[in-house]
């Protein structure tokens, strides 16, 4: 190795990656060149520094729960596919798994959630990306609300949006930042009515008590409108409606007048099927 080649190998030497012959050659050189020794130490320090930059990144709260929930959902999808292939025993097993699958309820007091948080998930996941980590879109978008409810127990209390001419278009576990903070699970399912990318309604189910806030105040001085049960708000051209059933909060979001969206929300709430009754405490 000539001196310039030698310098280029110092970083690899610092990583302990040279073969014995190269190593011996470098070490002979290092013994008489303090500048190269300093370089080796700095390359090692740089790697440590990159390591710290990597591990200093905070991991979002509830990530492990969300990954587990997704794995669980994919397991159920597989079981149901096997059932269609004529393996009823597995379906029974899947039902048992479902019955045991209890979402831990959150006892926290009502969290103020900014309407913009739900509105941005609506715009990002439902309108732009058609985000579908639950893989419910299915062939030709003919999956039903009942199928979603089988996959995600949180969906059990969603209103019957499909009866208004919408079809299920996708679902994901995305929610506003406040819910991520508090660790609540948020199921986001969206329903499409036509080819117009904006003709889509998002339904959120949150296993936590939330109130919609448009003022940004903490605590919120009470900025909501609407009836006592169905509170609404707007974020730009997106309307939002929020209500609660038992310990689950629901939010609808869509590009339509608030009154129209409230009607969708007030539509007949599908009864939770007995099989999943335990999953909604």
């Amino acid at each position: 190795m000539n001196p310039s080649e030698m310098r280029k190998h110092l970083a690899e030497y610092a990583d302990g990656e040279l073969d014995p012959a190269q190593r011996a050659e470098i070490e002979a050189h290092l013994a008489q060149d303090p500048a190269s020794r300093a370089d080796v130490a700095r390359w090692q320090a740089l790697r440590q520094c990159a390591h710290r930059a990597l591990v200093s990144e905070p991991v979002p709260r509830g990530l492990e729960d969300r990954v587990r929930a997704n794995l669980q959902a994919s397991r159920r999808v597989r079981s149901r596919r096997l059932y269609r292939l004529g393996l009823p025993g597995l379906a029974v097993a899947a039902a048992v798994v479902l019955a045991l699958f209890v979402w831990p309820g959150s006892e926290a007091a009502a969290t103020n959630v900014q309407v913009s948080g739900f509105a941005s998930v609506y715009r990002r996941c439902a309108v732009e990306r058609r985000h579908d980590t639950l893989n419910v879109r299915g062939d030709g978008g003919c999956k039903t609300l009942a199928e979603l409810q089988a996959e995600a127990p949180l969906a059990a209390g969603l209103p019957d949006i499909p009866s208004h001419g919408y079809r299920l278009d996708g679902a994901c576990w995305c929610g506003p930042p406040e819910c991520k903070e508090c660790g609540a699970r948020v199921l986001h399912a969206y329903f499409r009515r036509s080819d117009d990318p904006n003709d889509v309604v998002s339904a959120f189910a949150v296993d936590c008590a939330i109130t919609l806030c448009t003022c940004g105040g903490t605590p919120c001085p009470g900025c909501q409108r609407g009836t006592a049960e169905f509170r609404d708000g707007t974020d730009g051209d997106v309307s939002l409606v929020c209500w609660k059933r038992q310990k689950i909060s629901y939010v609808l979001a869509g590009r339509m007048p608030r009154e129209e969206l409230t009607k969708l929300a007030q539509g007949e709430v599908t009864p939770a099927s007995p099989q999943f009754a335990r999953t909604v405490p």
Partner: protein, 184 residues
Amino acid sequence: MGSADKQSFEALALPHLDTVYRVARRLAHHEHDAEDLVQETFLKAYAAFDRFQVREFGIKPWLLKILTNTFLNRRQRAERGPRSTDPQTLDETQADEAYAGPPDLDYEHLDQEVKQALDQLAPEFRTVLLLWATLEFSYREIADALDVPIGTVMSRLHRARQQLARALHDFAREQRLPGVKTQT
């Protein structure tokens, strides 16, 4: 796949969730995209778990392999077509640029600057550098995880390190830090 296998997948894979997320976070620019990458990685790994041989290949490199492949494929899809910068060309250009040694700086306090420099790297270099930064992989293992020859790993690491060194030289110059010898 038996239910025992499902349990063992979670038991084996979930302890590495933090590492997978942190690498994903440096690959994707947004927290939301990082979490998405992580979800897709674990779903793919779970689906392929029965074909996975733990003894041949530790589960962590395997998860990171799925993660980086998912990331690079998504990028390619997002750009609709071939990668804007062909990795082959990337590997060859600037090959004769002047060598930059690591500047004489206080590396204990450079985390933020290094993080920024990392984020500036082209994806093919960033993936190599991130696996290197975990301190858990040899060059050989990085090559296996990324499915590239070891020579490619070495040349990409060299280039990535040079870019880091230059960014830090620039930083030192901007800050007018005393005692910095600019080596070119």
